[in-house]
């Protein structure tokens, strides 16, 4: 079979698509279609993202002035805690896997659906339940412990709604577990004929690694939060040092999940960027196996480094040394990815479409975030930097500069496939630039602030630090505009956007060989994969320039 035939005819259907297949509320709420579930995730996750963003805005406004004037210190504690909880548990962790992964994984491997569609729907409902409980707690007054719930403050002293939020996170954890379980099974058993492991797109490999972390880590946070809840209710003292308990044990259990959790957030982002870099360089990715296995290596090594969050918490010095050394080791697989992406760009036919701009943003920002992570992972330097804005800047460079930017890149990249419409490329580029500039202006000053000793989680700070804080708040406004713009022009494109071609970027991946938007069954006939991943070539009918010249696809 000629690949060009496959691409020009496609496996897609002219009979209708998943969006037109039923329009009642029940057809959405009771659907077993992974694409519809992904869309419902998209809507909910975006709402949580906007709420988390509002809290971030409140934080930056408060820090505009040295005194604690806009928010009281107690309120400020609640605001930054809510920001952290909403962003981490309800945006960063579900965003790429549950939206893009859910939508694209079956399409990319040539399956009709995930292996367990009903469990997929269940995970959405669990996410909603956990989210509603958390929202309820926030409306009641929220929680002020920081997203880390450190004991004994959270179990004994805090007067906020620790129980309700903790329970919300406990419930939400099972949504994550079920998603991971579903992905692992799907990747093992649902691949189309010819789709061997080493023909899988790297996005799929990244999701496999992410799912491993979800399954192996999330149950531990569940049981830990459960212990905190029991301790808070019945005061047994397991985490209370005054009566023989051990708060460090809580930190071990908490970080056993929560450090690998940052890889749940970043690994799918890396998967998206692998797709973008290769596809918009129109070149086979350099070092496919290395990128694939570095995802698995990150998932495994990520479990061995949690103690670097506890260097100054009373952990033993030997443990600190071991954790510090392993933290350096875990940087290696991330670096392997960076080098391979760079090598892929070399001599590629790069087009600067919106998703690619985000991918470039990711590479630069994640590099800074990753390298500053090494500063924080070295036992000596971290004594100075612990709990300062240096830490805040570091993880925002990884989480926002890495994950959020990759997520936005992925949304733009797959938007024509998901909705069948093209967004405005002009506004897309503008917003990508604004996000990049705004982000750097917001968080780069925080590295300096942290190094100068400004502690995190305080509503007030010394006056000599105000200039940099003003920069940061100004940057946050630009970033805010850059993040709101996609909401506007993407929504606009749903109605007014040009109809997208089945393969608007002229790419070889399986998801581009069905119609846009795909039919409910994804492919009319079972696809048979005869090509390697990222196999470009004009002989395959994948000449983007020619296609654009002849108006086959919109530019």
């Amino acid at each position: 079979m000629q690949a060009s035939d496959a691409i020009s005819t496609g496996y897609g259907s002219a009979k209708g698509n998943y969006l037109t297949n039923g329009s009642t509320l029940a057809s959405w709420l009771l659907t077993k279609d992974h694409k519809r579930i992904a869309i419902m995730y998209l809507v909910t996750v975006s709402m949580f993202f906007m709420m988390g963003g509002l809290y971030a805005a409140a934080i930056r406004l408060e820090l505009l002035t040295p005194a604690s004037d806009l928010l009281e210190t107690g309120t400020y504690n609640r605001v930054f805690t809510q920001h952290g909880i909403l962003m981490i548990f309800f945006f960063l962790i579900p965003s790429i896997p549950a939206i893009l992964g859910n939508f694209m994984l079956p399409l990319m491997i040539g399956a009709k659906d995930l292996a367990m569609p009903r469990i997929n729907l269940l995970s959405l409902y669990i996410y909603w339940a956990g989210g509603l409980l958390t929202l309820y707690a926030l409306m009641q007054g929220g929680v002020d412990t920081g997203w880390t719930f450190y004991t004994p403050y959270s179990t004994t002293f805090s007067n906020s709604y620790v129980m309700a939020v903790g329970l919300g996170i406990f419930i939400n954890g099972f949504s994550s577990i079920l998603t991971g379980l579903n992905f692992i099974v799907t990747i093992h058993t649902m691949r189309a004929p010819g789709m061997t492991w080493f023909r899988l797109p790297l996005f799929v490999w990244a999701h496999y690694a992410t799912s491993l972390v979800m399954i192996l880590g999330t149950p531990v946070i569940a049981i830990t939060v459960l212990l905190v809840a029991i301790e808070r209710t019945v005061k047994v003292g397991i985490f209370d040092p005054a009566i023989g308990g051990d708060p460090i044990l809580f930190q071990h259990l908490f970080w056993f999940y929560s450090h690998p959790a940052v890889y749940i957030m970043i690994l799918p982002g890396m998967g998206v960027v692998s797709e973008l870099i290769s596809n918009f360089s129109r070149k086979k990715i350099f070092g496919y196996e290395f990128i694939a296995f570095s995802s698995i290596a990150i998932a495994v090594f990520g479990f061995l480094v949690w103690g670097h969050h506890m260097f100054v918490s009373g952990q033993s010095v030997y443990a600190g040394l071991v954790f510090s050394f392993l933290t350096m080791v875990v940087a290696v697989p991330s670096a392997i990815k960076m080098f391979n992406w760079t090598a892929t760009l070399y001599k590629g036919s790069i087009t600067f479409d919106t998703p690619m701009l985000y991918a470039f943003g990711f590479m630069g920002l994640f590099l800074i975030g990753g390298l500053t992570g090494l500063f924080l992972g070295s036992v000596g330097l971290t004594v100075h930097l612990t709990d300062t804005y240096f830490v805040v800047a570091h993880f925002h460079y990884v989480m926002v500069g890495g994950q959020v930017i990759a997520y936005l890149g992925g949304i733009h990249y797959w938007w024509p496939k998901m909705t069948g419409r093209m967004y405005s490329e002009f506004w897309g580029k503008i917003s990508a630039m604004l996000v990049f500039v705004g982000f750097n202006l917001t968080f780069f000053p925080q590295f300096i602030l942290g190094y100068q000793g400004m502690p995190r989680r305080y509503a007030a700070y010394p006056e000599e630090l105000q200039v940099l804080n003003i920069f940061s708040t100004a940057g946050a406004s630009v970033l805010g505009v850059g993040l709101v713009m996609p909401v506007v022009y993407l929504t606009h494109s749903l109605v007014f956007g040009a109809k997208a071609a089945d393969n608007p970027w002229m790419l070889p991946g399986l998801e581009w060989r069905t119609s846009s938007p795909p039919p409910t069954e994804n492919f009319d006939v079972m696809p048979v994969v005869t090509w390697e991943a990222y196999e470009f070539g004009e002989e395959n009918g994948l000449d983007l320039e020619a296609a654009r010249r002849s108006d086959v696809v919109t530019a």
């Binding site: 093992h188 192996l216 531990v220 460090i248 044990l249 071990h252 056993f256 479990f303 061995l304 949690w306 103690g307 506890m310 952990q315 033993s316 010095v317 030997y318 443990a319 071991v322 954790f323």
Partner: protein
């Protein structure tokens, strides 16, 4: 499919009862072993013996009752892998607790 359908050729009722008897013997053994003071040989000997018996019982249940013995490598891997991850959690937590009193901040 064929794998699963071959399974019941491997086990039969006498074999299941045999596995069951091994488990019963293990339970009785673990009880009486706990009554003997083996900690005087070396500290933790009682726990070690108890855990060895428990691991044996677990292995028997997994291999024969849960049919892991005739399952694909992935099942073996997930069974072993989950305990490997438990071991990571135990070992890396304990490397902190066991070395608390040593080094520059120790006694």
């Amino acid at each position: 499919m064929s794998d699963n359908h071959e399974q019941h050729d491997h086990m039969n009722i006498p074999k299941y009862v045999g596995v069951f008897l091994v488990l019963v013997v293990g339970t009785i053994l673990t009880y009486y072993a706990a009554l003997v003071d083996m900690d005087s040989i070396f500290p933790g000997a009682n726990t070690l013996v108890a855990l060895l018996i428990a691991f044996t019982k677990m292995a028997v249940v997994m291999l024969f009752f849960m049919h892991v013995y005739w399952s694909k490598r992935l099942i073996w891997l997930s069974a072993i892998g989950s305990f490997f991850w438990l071991a990571i959690m135990f070992a890396f937590t304990l490397q902190d607790y066991l070395t608390r009193s040593e080094g520059v901040f120790g006694r």
